[in-house]
């Protein structure tokens, strides 16, 4: 046991007496498995130490033993609030390695899915900020909207949370008429619900007093800690991967990158709110663009990854051989070393692959935004009240699955 974990009781009245408090690993207020050992002076945090790794699953090691399409299911379990973005990020990284050009229509379909999952991600994070400030109602309102988005994922890929959506080269199947109808419903319901949500919180005096000035971080500090995503933008730096290094045709879309000024909880909340509106606008633009593309195209012609249609597999020898080859992961993997990053729900999610030509990556490293910015947490809560520390954590959108990978 280290020295600062012991409560020292001294005879000298002038000396301060600190209490050690274990916040976590399992605590209902921290939404996940996070442990922080806090040194408290009354209700004020003097210093803190984070312990991570409680749900470590060695994804980088497992990835070295799986072939490329099987790794997608691992990426689901990183930031599970927006797994479609992780899936797409991985597919795009593999496409970069294999030099696959994805047709425009498939890219736009991907944009729709990614932006929907960004909305789902931000909805959860922002409503949880509401819960931690004592407004439980908004959380239940919001979950209705999220439900609609998950309905669409279910229609497109069959799963809701850990989606494994899309394939290398495009998507596994086209949007069905029902999926388009669900999308229309989302575009109709989400703005209304979001407006209601904002009416309840944005100018709410209690909410503002609670959030403004809580857990701030300066732009310089945020960059030093390699912050990305809404947390960095709330501090006033307009770094967005979608703009800086566009992927999946993001350069064709018209949207604003919202930034904050103080980098406090309220700014993070507001940046996410605005991003959701921008995402809605991007989805509408993508829907218009798709109308101009040839119908029924949803993946590239890559025999290494795209499964042949089932009717052919059952009736045609060659298709059966291809099906078998793909499922066993027998692709002509080029040698190389690539890095591809996407703007995930909470920051720059990057995949670094070293390939030696084998059927699985020689080394796969994931740049997990949470893991990198969570280390600033102990710094940010120093001198705060305990209740502010809880609020700061939920406003940073730290997801245990991504933190511990």
């Amino acid at each position: 046991m280290s020295k600062d974990k012991i409560i020292t009781v001294s005879g000298n009245d002038q000396e301060k007496e600190y209490t050690t408090l274990n916040l976590g690993p399992t605590h209902p207020a921290t939404h996940g498995i996070f442990q922080n050992v806090l040194k408290m002076d009354g209700e004020i945090i003097m210093s803190a130490e984070s312990t991570v790794g409680y749900i470590h699953r060695a994804f980088e090691k497992i990835a070295e033993h799986r072939n490329y399409y099987q790794i997608t299911t691992l990426t689901d379990r990183l930031n599970y609030c927006s797994s479609p973005i992780n899936n797409m990020g991985w597919h795009m990284a593999v496409e970069k390695l294999f030099n696959i050009e994805v047709p425009k229509r498939a890219q736009y379909l991907r944009v729709i899915i990614m932006e929907l999952s960004r909305i789902a991600d931000h909805l959860i994070c922002n409503s949880v900020i509401g819960v931690d400030t004592g407004a439980l109602t908004v959380y239940f309102y919001i979950f209705q909207l999220r439900e609609r988005i998950y309905e669409l994922f279910e229609e497109v890929c069959g799963a809701r949370l850990t989606t494994n959506i899309g394939r290398v080269g495009g998507l596994e199947r086209d949007f069905s008429p029902k999926a388009w109808a669900t999308l229309d419903k989302i575009l109709e319901e989400v703005p209304k619900g979001l407006k209601e949500f904002e009416n309840l919180l944005v100018r709410n005096r209690i909410f503002m007093d609670r959030c403004i000035g809580c857990g701030p971080i300066s732009a310089e500090k945020a960059l030093q800690y390699s912050f990305t995503g809404p947390n960095l933008r709330a501090a006033g730096v307009d770094y967005d991967v979608r703009v800086m290094n566009p992927y999946s045709s993001y350069e064709e879309f018209d949207f604003i990158v919202p930034v904050g000024t103080n980098g406090d909880t309220y700014d993070r909340f507001m940046v996410r709110e605005e991003e959701m509106w921008q995402s809605l606008s991007i989805i509408k633009q993508a829907r218009e663009k798709i109308k101009k593309e040839p119908e029924g195209v949803f993946n590239a012609n890559v025999p290494d990854f795209v499964l042949p249609p089932k009717e052919e597999v059952y009736n045609n020898m060659e298709a059966l051989i291809y099906h078998f080859k793909i499922v066993m992961g027998e692709a002509n993997v080029p040698k190389g070393e690539i890095y591809h990053s996407v703007e995930g729900g909470n920051g720059e999610l990057g995949f670094y692959i070293i390939s030696d030509g084998g059927r699985s990556p020689y080394r796969m490293h994931i740049r997990r935004p949470c893991f990198i910015y969570y280390q600033a947490y102990t710094d940010m809560i120093k001198g705060c009240l305990l209740s502010d520390a809880i609020l700061t954590m939920s406003s940073m959108n730290v997801i245990a699955g991504e933190l511990d990978a």
Partner: protein
Amino acid sequence: MDKETLLTTVQDKLKAQFGGGFISSEMVSDFPVFVLNRDIICDAVRFLYDDADLSFQFLTTLAGTHYPDNKGHELGVMYQLHSLRNNYRIRLKVFVNINEPNVPSITPVFLGANWMERQEFDFFGINFTGHPNLKRILNMDEMTYHPMRKEFPLEDGTREDKDDKMFGR
């Protein structure tokens, strides 16, 4: 500035500043990659950070590698730097002997390198000298080995029911 010019610019600057510390450079897909001597890595990162034209002031990520066949330089560290002002991205690499895996820590330049280096210490056993708190981060403290090294197979090697002769690595 296109990627080729960036490669030569950074290469010239590093060569002028560090001379022998610079080992080689190449273009790997769309990234300029520079291999440096491990002793100068912290200074080089600091130099690129302070350089007014380049200003590589954002550390994107850091990853360890293990090449068991590369005798004398088995372990490696990859640093990926980003200049947000100009949108330049480069990769720096250092290689060290597995028996003496010391690499200077870059935490004096980037606070965010703290946990990234701890992670690579945890998984590859790379000893980042000058790191303020170098201990395991994701694995348990009692662990005695570094599991991402290539000598540790994912599954128990003694099992016979899982024959991967045909399809396994």
